[in-house]
Every structure is written in structure tokens, then in C-alpha cells.
């Protein structure tokens, strides 16, 4: 890793104070995450409890219904009773009969040599002989008969069990009473359950609220601390700018992949970075996300909350907590995990329980998992991936994997989404769909999108502003219209004649 050679004190006053501020930022982020988690837990528990209650009640109802059903059966007309009993018994009988039919048919076919050794019909097999057909028809008739017989038997039984009028009256009464009692029980149960759930939820709410309060007071304190230290910071980032590169340079040994590059990405826009192969586009991304530490220059960024940070100061795995999420040129989804779990990976910084709690799988861990899974399910639905969420990503089409990556950025709560060649490897149809999704995400989530792309159609169609680079240097910046008409850009893409090149040098 190349370390930044230059730490510019301009942005954060002295180093120790800067470190302190970063620490405060981090703690505040963590606290906010915990508070959000606590709030989500309560609402989720509420719905969960309600569902559980309904489930329990339905079970109870089924249980209470059983003796009453018997009563009802006795009271019904013999035909109805027989019919009801038949409905219960018929499926089993039909299944057995069907199997017997198939067995007979198979035996007959085998006898006539219509089958191969495994029992499959031979390709040129004729229909079975009329005699065998007759035998089969007989069986069908016999089976039909058997069904009828069953019905008559049941009917007979029902008739025999027919109640005398006096008994009937008593039973009728009992049924009425039973029904009333059932309603009563159900009501009681529901109330009891509601009460228990209410108490549970209240306790939970109290717990979480206490937690929120406690965390909130700590949060306020930290924020106050941050405010006090604010005087030390001098950020220069206009209100509408989300990301600013200032004199960014990145050299590998002697090779300058990015050379003194500066540009602004406005808040809420779709920004495109274009350039011929090897122009250093991906290197710019890697510098922003701190995979490479820039050799010189600053990357200034405004978070969703409005804090202005110098990204050079952060480790690569801290970048996502600032709301910057990237996708990869050649789709880096985790093959060993399901698509849902891939989203949970993106939510990794949202998991706040400690290792010890995870080892013992405490209630806190389970609640946390529950809440974050629900968040993931929402994102999956938004991206249209719900149907395949439990499948492994291996073997899914490329377009789906790209969408999983996009879903991951949303899951992480991105403010700035960095897309590395989103349309690479997609066919036209998939590209159109992806374009639509990107635009929709930008609209619905109010995020800033920064992308590198070779598909000029997509870039010109999608972007608000474009920066063109070549050999790590900026060629042009402007709206798609301006870029299209820029001479330098055209030259870089199409090549220049020697004469022109000489002119430029001169």
C-alpha cells in the first residue's frame, strides 16, 4: 500500500484534533445506528407479536371447532353428513385406487411387451390390446363402484345414527352453547394474549426506549464535543457539492496512472467518468474508496448528514460507513452465500452486537438479525429480487448479479454510489433495465451516482455531467452535449493525426 505522503493540515487543523474528530464521528455514527436499530426492533416486534397472536388464535379455533364439528355432523341431514365424511376419506381412497390402476396397466403393458427394461414405454409402442383395455376399464368401473359403495355405507351409517327428536333438540342446544362458549373462549384468549403481548411489548419498548435515551444522551454529548472542536476545522466544500477531487495523483512506481486530477461531483446528480482504456478511471475509483492511497491530492466528501470529510484519512473498510458504496467491474458477489446473505454482508457495519453476544446468540443478536433481515427484504423487493433471495448467486445471469450489487449499495444506506462499468457484459435489454433501475434509485433514494462506463449511449443518456480523462489527465468537463462536441475528447477516442499532435505539442 502506498501511503499518502502529504497530510494537509488545512482541512482538520492539527493532526491530533483531526484524529479526535474522526473518533467522535465514528462514535456518533455507531450511536445513531444503535438508536435506529432499537427503534426498528420495537416496530418489528409489534408486527411479529400480532402475527403470532393470530396464529395462536387460529390454532385454538381449530381445536375448539373439532368437538363442535362432530356435533354439527350429527345434527346435519344424513346426505350432508355422509358427503362431509366422504370428502374426508375420498382423497386417500382415490390415491390408492389410482396406484392400483397404474400397476395393473403397467403389468398388462409389460405382458404385451410394450415396455423397455426400466418400465418406460417403448417409443414405437402401440396401444394395448382391446382385451387388456377391457380389463382396465373393468378395474375403473370396479373402483367407481367402490367409491359409490363407500358413499352408500356412510349414508347408511348416518341414517342409522340419526337422532331422535328429543336428542336432537338437546344436541342442538349443546351446539348452540358450544358455539357461544367457543366465541367466548376465543375472545378471552385474544384478550389474554393481547394483554401478555402488550406487557411484553411495553417492557421491550421500555427497554429499547431506555436504551435510546441512554444512547441519545451520550450522542448529544458527543455532538456537543464535536461542535466544540468544529472551530478547528476549515472545510471548503460548496453546499451543493458531494465529492471533490483536488489535484489527485496516483503513481505506481514510475507510472502515473492519475495525474493531478480535479473535479466536483454535485449533490444528487449522476456523474460520469469516461476515457479510453487504461486512462486511469478505475484507479480514480480505487483512490476514492481508498483501495489505493493516493500519492498526492485530497478527496473531500460531504456525508448525508452534512459533515465534510477528507477521505484520504480513512481506512478502506471505513469508507462504507460514510455512505460511499461501490460496485465492481467484474461483479464481486459472494458465491458461497445466498443473495439475501449477500445483502446482509453489505449491512455488516450495521451489526453492532459484540463477539461474545454472537457466540452465545443472545436475544440482542437475534433481534438485530431480525431487523436487518427485514431491511434486506425491503431492498430485495425494491430491486425485484425477492423471488430468488434464497438461491446462491452462482449460475444467475449477469444482469441479476449486477442488480444484486446495486441492491447491496442500497442495503448499505449509500449516499454516494460508485458504479464501475455497470453495463459491461450486459445485453441491450438488460442494459435498458439497468439504466431504468439506476435512474429510479437516484430518484427514490436521493443519492448521488458516480459511474465509469464504456457504453457511450448509456453515459450520454444517463449523466448530468461528464468528466473525460486520458492517461490520468483531465481532458474535458461538462454536460453530455459539451463533451460530445469537444475536440480533445474526440481526438482521445478516435486518435489524432500527426500534424494535429505536433500542433498540440507546439
Amino acid at each position: 500500500m502506498y501511503m499518502a505522503k502529504k497530510t494537509d493540515p488545512r482541512y482538520f487543523g492539527d493532526k491530533a484534533a483531526a484524529r479526535e474528530r474522526r473518533r467522535l464521528f465514528e462514535e456518533i455514527e455507531q450511536l445513531e445506528g444503535e438508536i435506529r436499530l432499537a427503534g426498528d426492533t420495537v416496530t418489528l416486534l409489534e408486527t411479529q407479536r400480532r402475527e403470532r397472536r393470530e396464529h395462536k388464535l387460529s390454532l385454538l379455533e381449530a381445536r375448539l371447532q373439532r368437538p363442535l364439528a362432530k356435533l354439527g355432523l350429527a345434527l346435519a341431514s344424513p346426505q350432508d353428513a355422509a358427503q362431509a365424511l366422504l370428502q374426508k376419506k375420498l382423497p386417500g381412497l382415490r390415491k390408492a385406487q389410482r396406484l392400483a390402476y397404474r400397476k395393473l396397466r403397467q403389468d398388462l403393458r409389460r405382458k404385451e411387451g410394450l415396455l423397455d427394461r426400466e418400465g418406460r414405454m417403448l417409443p414405437d409402442a402401440k396401444d394395448i390390446s382391446p382385451a387388456a383395455r377391457q380389463q382396465l376399464n373393468d378395474l375403473t368401473a370396479e373402483q367407481q363402484h367402490e367409491q359409490d359403495r363407500m358413499y352408500t355405507e356412510l349414508l347408511e351409517k348416518a341414517r342409522a345414527n340419526r337422532l331422535s327428536d328429543k336428542n336432537r333438540l338437546a344436541k342442538q342446544q349443546r351446539l348452540q352453547q358450544g358455539l357461544a362458549a367457543k366465541e367466548q373462549r376465543l375472545l378471552h384468549k385474544e384478550e389474554a394474549l393481547k394483554k401478555a403481548d402488550g406487557a411484553y411489548l411495553k417492557a421491550q419498548e421500555k427497554r429499547q426506549q431506555a436504551r435510546i435515551d441512554r444512547l441519545g444522551s451520550v450522542l448529544k454529548e458527543k455532538q456537543a464535543q464535536l461542535l466544540r472542536s468544529e472551530s478547528q476545522a476549515e472545510h471548503h466544500l460548496p453546499e451543493d457539492v458531494c465529492l471533490r477531487l483536488e489535484g489527485l495523483s496516483m503513481a505506481f512506481g514510475g507510472l502515473k496512472a492519475v495525474d493531478n486530477l480535479s473535479f466536483d461531483v454535485k449533490q444528487g446528480e449522476i456523474f460520469g467518468l469516461i476515457g479510453p482504456n487504461g486512462a486511469g478511471k478505475t484507479t480514480v475509483f480505487n483512490c476514492i474508496t481508498q483501495f489505493y492511497k493516493p500519492t498526492a491530492g485530497d478527496i473531500i466528501y460531504r456525508t448525508r448528514e452534512g459533515n465534510v470529510l477528507r477521505l484520504n484519512n480513512y481506512d478502506v473498510h471505513k469508507i462504507i460507513t460514510k455512505g460511499i458504496v461501490r460496485t465492481f467491474q467484474n461483479v464481486e458477489v459472494i458465491g458461497e452465500l445466498s443473495i439475501l446473505d449477500n445483502l446482509l454482508i453489505a449491512a455488516h457495519p450495521q451489526y453492532l452486537s459484540s463477539l461474545g453476544q454472537q457466540i452465545f446468540n443472545t436475544r440482542r443478536v437475534r433481534q438485530e438479525e431480525m431487523v436487518i433481515k427485514q431491511r434486506a427484504n425491503r431492498v430485495l423487493e425494491y430491486c425485484g429480487l425477492s423471488a430468488i433471495k434464497d438461491l446462491p448467486p452462482v449460475g444467475q445471469p449477469y444482469g441479476v448479479l449486477k442488480r444484486v450489487e446495486l441492491a447491496r449499495t442500497l442495503m448499505a444506506g449509500a449516499n454516494l454510489i460508485i458504479l464501475d462499468e455497470p453495463a459491461a457484459g450486459l445485453n441491450d435489454q438488460e442494459t435498458v433495465e439497468l439504466t431504468r433501475l439506476i435512474r429510479q434509485i437516484q430518484k427514490d433514494y436521493g443519492v448521488t451516482i458516480f459511474l465509469v462506463e464504456h457504453n457511450m449511449g448509456l453515459v450520454m443518456d444517463l449523466c448530468d455531467h461528464i468528466c473525460a480523462i486520458s492517461f490520468g489527465k483531465k481532458l474535458a468537463y461538462g454536460t453530455p452535449q459539451q463533451i460530445q462536441n469537444d475536440q480533445l475528447v474526440q481526438d482521445a477516442y478516435l486518435g489524432t493525426s500527426d500534424a494535429q499532435e505536433l500542433e498540440v505539442i507546439a
Binding site: Q106, E118, H317, I334, H348, Y351, I359, E369
Partner: protein, 386 residues
């Protein structure tokens, strides 16, 4: 979430069987019942067999740590032998030479040293990756091997380190130290319970049996805890790191943290298992801890499917348990011990070559084959569906 509540109500037994811990508990019950049978005087449960199972349990503990390292974090280490040996020798030294240290202190010492080691190797793993790392840890293990052989005061050299008594269940050796005093307070209270009195008044063989039972509980408990961690966000983060370290970093996963954690898990489990080995077998020689041992652990984990704890246990059973548990009683194998090792070697090669997913994959294949067979029979008897 909705579905789970409105699904058809399952019976309690079926639900319990589906619980991820069911398999672990089943293994625990099997292991316990062997000891119980032996206590009740069943002839076929020989003490050598029980010792064999005990060694399988001890090594499977090493295996669980290694499962995390290899199966989840995707890091390979060939230094396991050294880490296990260190735990064993520390336990042996403390129990033998420092009897005032209570047993919990002994375990703690073994674990602490393992922590230091794990951190060291974890930092090394940031600089060196893949097969290079495995070879470096192999070198590390060789250094420990030399120490076990040559530091006579600590390890008793190639003669082997031994202890004379089972370290727990007879704990009141030196009443002077303050830690022992705490132990005494605790245990003297416990010893007033009628049932527990027997525990404090044990013969050697009883102590060994008790230790075996303790070992079963520890093994099953560790399986559960390891499983929990594997299913948590930590396990997922490690899998992400294994599959794509750049994606993992972009998703906020610190490579340093999780590599360190993976190595810590493996060394702590190894050190702990070493202490357990010493406590149960009361003897340990340097030749236990050669490169062969590290490779055997690796083999056991790979055979098990490298991410599956029950698989790891079965892998350990195959690699470490076949000889003492089953084959020793067959005269042919007893006289030609080389045949056993060749068999195990061949089994390892066969499983790795034909079932790269380990025993887990093998089990799935069996299930699949069974289903196919059933379908074939259906086709033969009933013909094609129309």
C-alpha cells in the same frame, strides 16, 4: 417471516430434530452412552475404545477452530501441531511443577499463550498469503517442535511430559495459594451436596470416567458456540473475506480484524485442546506434534467438508479414531499397523479426489442416490405418470 407462523403446525419432536443443535446433542448422547455402558459393565466397550473417542473429541476441538480458519476465513495453517503441543506442555508443566495453580488457571494460561500466538500469526497473515502462509506456519510449528524436544526443564525433552494425577475432581493439593483458596471455598460448598460428595472422593478410574463426561460436555458445548458464531454476521464476514477480499473491504469488513479473529479462534481452540489432551491422557511426547499432526487436522477438516462441524467431527473420527476404536481389535490390523495408515491415506485421497465437498457432499450423494432408486422402482412398478 409471515410464513413461519402460518405454516402447518409441526410436532414438537420434529421441530426439535430440525434444530441445528440436534446433531450435536445426538453425538453427545452417543458418546455419553458409551461411557455409561462401560460403567454398567458392557463388555464390548473397552477402555482403549473410550480413550480413542476421547482423543477424537480432543482433536475435534482443534478441528472446530481450524474449520473457522479454513472453511470460513479461507486461510491455511500448518502450524496446528505446534499450537496444540504448546497448550499440552504448558498444562503439563503447570500441573506437574506448579501444583498451587488451580486447574482453571492452568487452562487460562494455555489459552492466554495461545492468544498471544494467534495475534502474532494473524499479523503475519496480513503480510503473507495463501500457501506461503501455510509454509510459514509450518516453519513456526517446527520451531515449537524443537522447543518441545530440547527445552528439558519445561517439556522433559523427548522422554515426554507426564502428570501423575487427574487435575480436577481431586483439586485440593496445595491449600496455600489464593486461587486454590477460592477453589476450595467453591468446592467445599459443593462437596456438601450429597451427590457431589462422590466426585471429591474418586479413584483414578472414576476420575477418568468423570473427565470423559466433562470432555463430552465441552465438545458439544463448543460445537454449539462455534455454530452460533459461524451463523452470525462474523461468520458471514469471514466467508465474504474468503470469497473476495476486495468486496469484503468495500462492504466495511476489516481484513485485519477478521483474519486476527480467525487465527485467534484456531490457536485458542488448539491450545485449549492441548490442555485437555494433557489432562485426559496425562502424557505427551514431542513426536505427537510433528507436521503429520498438522496435516492430519487439515485432512480431517477437509474430509468433513471444511464448513460443517459434524463433518469435522466425523473427519476426526476417520483420521484419528479408526485405529484405536475399531481396527486395533482386529488381529490382522493389530499385527500390521502399516496397513491401517495406508488405508487412512487412501481414504483421504479418495474422499478429497471424488468428494471435494467432503462427507457432507457424500451424504447428499447418498440421499440423491436413494431418491433416484425410489424413482426407478416407481417407474418400474407403476409406469410413467400420465
Amino acid at each position: 417471516m409471515q410464513n413461519t407462523f402460518h405454516a402447518k403446525p409441526e410436532s414438537a419432536i420434529r421441530r426439535a430434530l430440525k434444530h441445528p443443535f440436534a446433531g450435536f446433542i445426538f453425538i453427545g448422547i452417543l458418546l455419553l452412552s458409551l461411557q455409561v455402558l462401560s460403567i454398567m459393565g458392557a463388555g464390548f466397550v473397552k477402555s482403549s475404545m473410550l480413550n480413542g473417542f476421547a482423543s477424537v473429541m480432543v482433536y475435534s476441538i482443534v478441528g472446530y477452530g481450524f474449520t473457522f480458519l479454513l472453511g470460513y476465513a479461507g486461510l491455511a495453517s500448518l502450524g496446528t501441531a505446534g499450537f496444540v503441543g504448546l497448550g499440552a506442555y504448558i498444562a503439563g508443566y503447570l500441573i506437574r511443577e506448579q501444583p498451587q495453580v488451580p486447574y482453571l488457571g492452568v487452562i487460562l494460561a494455555a489459552v492466554l499463550v495461545s492468544v498471544v500466538l494467534g495475534v502474532a500469526v494473524g499479523f503475519i497473515s496480513l503480510r503473507i498469503e495463501g500457501i506461503f502462509l501455510a509454509i510459514v506456519t509450518l516453519g513456526l510449528s517446527e520451531i515449537f517442535y524443537q522447543i518441545f524436544n530440547n527445552w528439558l526443564g519445561f517439556t522433559n525433552g523427548s522422554m515426554g511430559s507426564s502428570i501423575s494425577k487427574y487435575p480436577i475432581f481431586q483439586l485440593f493439593q496445595n491449600p496455600d495459594s489464593w486461587l486454590a483458596a477460592i477453589d476450595r471455598d467453591l468446592f467445599s460448598k459443593l462437596a456438601q451436596v450429597p451427590f457431589l460428595q462422590a466426585i471429591f472422593d474418586m479413584k483414578t478410574i472414576d476420575a477418568r470416567r468423570s473427565f470423559y463426561i466433562l470432555l463430552v460436555l465441552i465438545t458439544v458445548g463448543l460445537m454449539m458456540l462455534t455454530y452460533n458464531l459461524g451463523k452470525s454476521s462474523t461468520g458471514r464476514a469471514m466467508l465474504a473475506m474468503k470469497n473476495s477480499s476486495s468486496a469484503a473491504q468495500a462492504m466495511g469488513i476489516s481484513l485485519l480484524k477478521y483474519r486476527l479473529l480467525a487465527f485467534l479462534m484456531s490457536t485458542i481452540f488448539a491450545g485449549f485442546a492441548g490442555a485437555m489432551f494433557m489432562s485426559y491422557f496425562k502424557f505427551s511426547t514431542p513426536t505427537n506434534y510433528t507436521i503429520i499432526f498438522s496435516l492430519n487436522i487439515l485432512a480431517a477438516v477437509l474430509i468433513g467438508g471444511s464448513k460443517n462441524l459434524i463433518g469435522t467431527f466425523l473427519g476426526c473420527l476417520i483420521v484419528f479414531g479408526l485405529t484405536p476404536i475399531f481396527l486395533q481389535d482386529i488381529p490382522f490390523f493389530r499385527d500390521n499397523s502399516w496397513v491401517i495408515n495406508i488405508t487412512i491415506g487412501s481414504i483421504i485421497i479418495l474422499i478429497v479426489m471424488f468428494y471435494p465437498g467432503g462427507l457432507v457432499q457424500l451424504g447428499q450423494r447418498f440421499k440423491q442416490a436413494f431418491r433416484q432408486l425410489a424413482a426407478k422402482r416407481r417407474l418400474y412398478v407403476y409406469g410413467e405418470e400420465d
